[in-house]
């Protein structure tokens, strides 16, 4: 079978996504964001600005918050990748996700996956964050609906309820 032009030069890449090993064919410089969304169908990770300003594409790479639009997929080989789909993998929402629902922390939803992952990363370092710490932890994530206050409240509430679970 001959390769289509788009396929030429692609290599087989093994990634660890949400605890599972997955194989994709991709160019080394493809953005991790595109591989997650287009090759793996994990469309919970959103593209906002595409230049690391908005945080909509945030994921965890080895437990560290990163913007997946700025990661060449080759740099993600061997890393433990967690997307929003991996947080409630068994279909049960986490405390943090429930707090977003209850506090009105999500409206249109585009920023929400990135907000949740940024908040999750924050709670992993500071289980009971102050408002100032919440503001800083989420400062790389833009929301054009909520005005942020409900989001900050949701993260603080998750902290009070024991956060990471």
């Amino acid at each position: 079978m001959s390769e289509s032009p788009q396929e030429r030069g692609k290599g087989e890449i093994i990634l660890t996504v949400n605890g599972k090993l997955v194989g994709v064919r991709a160019h080394a410089m493809e953005r991790l964001l595109d591989v997650l969304r287009h090759d793996l169908g994990l469309t919970g990770t959103k593209e906002g600005c595409g230049e690391g300003e908005c945080g909509a594409c945030a994921i965890l790479l080895d437990g560290v918050l990163v913007n997946s639009c700025l990661i060449p997929v080759f740099q993600a080989i061997g890393a433990d990748i967690v997307t929003i789909e991996g947080l409630a993998a068994d279909g049960r929402l986490r405390v943090l996700q429930r707090a977003f629902l209850e506090c009105g922390g999500a409206q249109c939803g585009i920023c929400t996956p990135g907000m949740i992952l940024a908040a999750f990363h924050l709670l992993s370092k500071k289980p009971q964050p102050t408002l100032e710490e919440v503001r800083e932890g989420l400062s790389g994530n833009l929301c054009r609906c909520t005005g942020y206050m409900q989001i900050f409240e949701a993260v603080a509430e998750a902290g009070r309820r024991g956060g990471m679970t």
């Binding site: 080394a28 953005r31 945080g55 918050l65 639009c69 080759f74 740099q75 800083e136 400062s139 790389g140």
Partner: protein, 292 residues
């Protein structure tokens, strides 16, 4: 126009030796990429000129912070998060950790590196004024060996540096002699996180018997390169901080900066605020802050 990933080569040698020999093989062909917070933006915009990238992300030799009696050597691949988390860097080089705290947001701080900020050579680079006032030196490494250059001579022109095509920055060396100085870092921007500075100041000062024994001032976004304000320093050094001196300092600042109008601000605004920031620093230095 979005870039086409199929046009790019990408190497991950995984070792310093492997990276350096690749850079030496075809000088100028391969561009090192660390956390990608600058280069991937250029890539996505279709304006990244290099077609061959070599990953230096997480090379152990570049991710160390080493303490020596006279200096701290920060591996060029250390992220802003690494800097903020390091006890000695935090205690002795507050101007640098302040700048790190307002570079991007947390996600970008987890990927952006200090070496990347230096090589990217933007006049607006948040950490660069701090490196100027701390008298940082750079260790540049290639297969030919290692050389040490003062950071203040490294940026030649707008976005041009002394780095040879086969070289990497290995480490940034900071002399450990400023921990007793009064230190002030200021960023003026649309907001602290994410926004690129309209201008920023890093300042160190020390009084002896009411007289300015030493002062070191540097600003970002007021000239084609990050600028040490040597003329202003000369005017202030050895004198008492009095209203007349503050007025002279304001004039000196205005005469030595070269601000421009751009999308973030105007030359006039920058000149006014630059003078205000220096005046404020002098007043606070004289008001007793020998230590912060």
């Amino acid at each position: 126009m979005r870039a086409d990933p199929s046009e790019y080569e990408f190497a991950t040698p995984g070792t310093m030796r492997g990276v350096l020999s690749l850079l030496a093989q075809d000088p100028g062909e391969w561009l090192p990429i660390a956390g990608g917070t600058d280069l991937m933006v250029q890539f996505s915009a279709g304006i990244l000129r290099a077609r061959k990238l070599v990953s230096i992300w997480n090379l152990p030799e570049l991710r160390r912070i080493e303490k020596f009696p006279e200096e701290i050597q920060i591996g060029a691949g250390c992220t802003y998060t690494d800097l903020r988390a390091h006890e000695a860097v935090n205690r002795e080089f507050t101007l640098l950790t302040s700048a790190a705290s307002w570079t991007g947001g947390i996600a970008n701080q987890n990927r952006g590196t200090i070496g990347g900020n230096v090589v990217n050579a933007s006049p607006a680079g948040d950490s660069l004024p701090a490196l100027l006032v701390y008298g940082a030196e750079l260790l540049l490494v290639s297969v030919r060996g290692e050389r040490r250059v003062p950071y203040r001579t490294f940026h030649i022109h707008y976005r041009k540096t002394q780095l040879e095509p086969d070289e990497l920055i290995r480490a940034i060396c900071l002399p450990r002699r400023f921990s007793e100085y009064y230190a002030q870092a200021r960023k003026v921007g649309a907001r602290n996180a994410q926004a690129i500075a309209k201008l920023c100041l890093a300042a160190l000062g020390r009084l002896e018997d009411g007289v300015v024994a030493d002062i070191r001032l540097a600003m970002g976004s007021v000239a084609p390169v990050p600028l040490r304000l040597t003329e202003t320093e000369q005017i202030v050094k050895g004198r008492r901080i009095e209203p007349t001196l503050v007025r002279l300092a304001r004039m000196a600042v205005a005469s030595e900066i070269r601000p421009i109008d751009d999308m973030r601000s105007t030359a006039r605004y920058r000149a006014a605020v630059a003078a205000n920031l220096v005046a404020r620093f002098l007043e606070q230095l004289s008001a007793g802050g020998n230590k912060a």
